[in-house]
């Protein structure tokens, strides 16, 4: 009956079916009640009830009457009201805390990049709390927090625990969610960064509707996430998709395990820099030289593309995905040496399958990691 025009400061308790309807709207956009009912498998009667509830909560609004070519009463389309709730997403790196606030449609409405004064757990938690408080002041106060970082996140009972994070120098398991939750008073989700990216890509990116879906995050390291049955694979210890130590032959940069011929030795940004013969951290130069056709740089990217093709083939063999999405700031080998990637697929896959593998290169921006964390928080609320 009443329609609340203000954003919510707390996430309401939704029934299972309510969450389902919202999810359907998130995934496939505005729809009429009848189509929604079909898609989530409910009767029109039930859907009418739920729509009423969501309208009253202000999570959904009635859109324009859709003009149809056929006869009959025109359907009233239901739209998500994106500004109804906001979520804080954080990506932690070794030196910076990237924070975004997104709305219900995962659009970024606020953004921060705060340098880390130190890597101590206390410092990080304090900084997180401060940023959360800062971003809770305005009209887009978040209702939940998602945090992601490059590392293993274990589920230990109800707690989400960060396992010894090398780049943060945390030698012990850190129950990050249990520390940040009470400090901010908001529900907190912690996840691996590429897993978060994967969730966001599956829900809001072009990865919608592909299942299984495999997402790669290429950058300082290699990560991957897999969605099967609408859920992110978590594994026994939150360590799925760590496919970076496949040996592909050749000689490259020595990885932290002491290999000089594994995927890490060729695909990561530090490896490309090393193999291209530029100074550590000077990826831009390696890229420029490769584009100019300089032999050594081109070769570094070609070998990166071949190695990437190797692990893509492995994940195709393992997961049989409908789509493989390559993301991250270090995926330029896709443009520079696509034929090498294809060569690797031919090498590692059974012949007939190569053309059935769908690989995409969605738009990428580093803030997508933080956005992914926000989406993970959103997902946790919709699921539970």
């Amino acid at each position: 009956m009443t329609t609340h025009a203000q954003p919510r400061t707390r996430w309401p308790e939704l029934g299972h079916a309510g969450g389902l309807v919202l999810l359907e709207l998130l995934l496939h956009g505005a729809q009429s009640r009848v189509r929604l009912a079909e898609n989530v498998g409910l009767s029109r009667a039930s859907l009418s009830r739920i729509a009423r509830e969501l309208l009253d909560l202000g999570l959904v609004v009635e859109g324009d009457v859709e003009l149809r070519e056929s006869r009959g009463r025109p359907p009233e389309t239901l739209h998500l009201r994106p500004e109804a709730a906001h979520f804080l997403g954080v990506k932690l790196t070794g030196d910076t805390l990237y924070a975004v606030v997104t709305d219900l449609s995962a659009r970024v409405v606020e953004q921060r990049a705060v340098p880390l004064p130190s890597r101590g757990v206390d410092t990080v938690v304090a900084l997180l709390t401060e940023v959360a408080a800062d971003l809770s002041a305005g009209a887009t106060a978040p209702v939940a927090i998602g945090i992601c970082l490059a590392g293993d996140v274990l589920r230990s009972g109800p707690d989400l625990v960060v396992r010894r994070s090398s780049f943060l120098g945390w030698n012990e398991d850190v129950p990050l969610a249990a520390l940040v939750g009470p400090a901010t008073g908001l529900p907190v989700t912690v996840s691996n960064d590429v897993h978060a990216l994967t969730a966001a890509h599956h829900w809001f990116g072009s990865g919608v509707a592909y299942e299984p879906l495999v997402v790669y995050g290429l950058g300082a390291g290699i990560g991957s996430g897999v969605v099967v049955g609408g859920e992110l694979l978590e594994g026994a210890h939150g360590r799925t998709g760590r496919i970076g130590h496949l040996r592909v032959g050749g000689t490259g940069r020595v990885c932290e395990n002491g290999h000089d011929d594994c995927v890490h030795s060729f695909v990561t940004i530090p490896s490309i820099e090393f193999n291209a013969g530029v100074a550590p951290g000077d990826y831009a130069t390696a890229l420029r030289r490769a584009r100019a056709g300089e032999a050594r740089a081109v070769d570094a990217f070609r070998r990166a593309a071949f190695a990437l093709g190797g692990i893509i083939a492995e994940s195709v063999n393992a997961f049989d995905p409908q789509m493989v999405s390559v993301m991250g700031e270090g995926r330029d080998m896709l443009d520079i040496a696509p034929q090498e990637l294809r060569r690797a697929l031919l090498e590692y896959l059974e012949q007939g399958d190569v053309d059935e593998v769908r690989i995409e290169r969605p738009p990428f921006d580093f803030s997508l990691y933080a956005r992914g964390a926000a989406v993970s928080a959103m997902r946790a609320l919709l699921a539970g």
Copy 2:
């Protein structure tokens, strides 16, 4: 009220909760009502109703009163009544049709091995129908049929389609379930053989309670199956777990893709025979020579163990399983060269993780494939 002592000839329609209780009994054995209620997440009241229904259907019986040390009324344990229903499982190879009939506890009560007169689709379907009719005569008439074979099984709409099976010489997709179902009048499930083995091992073998679970089937080829979230990974085209073309270095038998350094080149029985220098088909001699310490045979098994370690490492990296089970008639490298397997794990995994990987070698018999098919049929009934 009434207890039917006879085996069922048709599977009853069970509610969702009823299937859940039965599943719990299958997985963890006899239990009291209260424990069952806790384990499946129902109230005692609801569980009492369901237990009554299952008792009336004759699927479950009340066992002895369990004597407890503590005070209070002793619980009445519920047991599965294994003879209440039977299932036909078939494993198809290039020359033989292996059939078993199992009861509800997956115990094999009948067994057949019928030579295939020819590999034509019609012949196979006719033979399947004949075997089904033969085994339906006795007191253990099956209520459903499961068929498995070494190949890809696609789900095309409601149909289960066998994709061009090389060893059967089927060049086209064959809708095997749609052919056998009407001919026998029973519900039919078709699956990959190692997937069927995996399902059975997860439900009835030592793989119970491990999740994710990865199962390898080593024999004429290599297959693997993965269970995540209680479900077998199916993938987009029923082709998950095909991890056999990883390149591990060295030189072995040339596989069908033209590689001489991939896992197939070392792990399959034909490869071991070739690499050991014995006649094709004479695996027994290779095994005997290796056990006697003959250098070339030992080397073949060592390289097989190393290659196996490589793919096990890959699946650990990909799926983060709690348990890896190695099955199949060609897994002797586990005994002959265990240190080579460990060396491969050290090579392909991150150091700290090697000791956390749990690898088991459950009892194996070739009839387990057919049993697995029967279990797949059972699972389909419980799920739907």
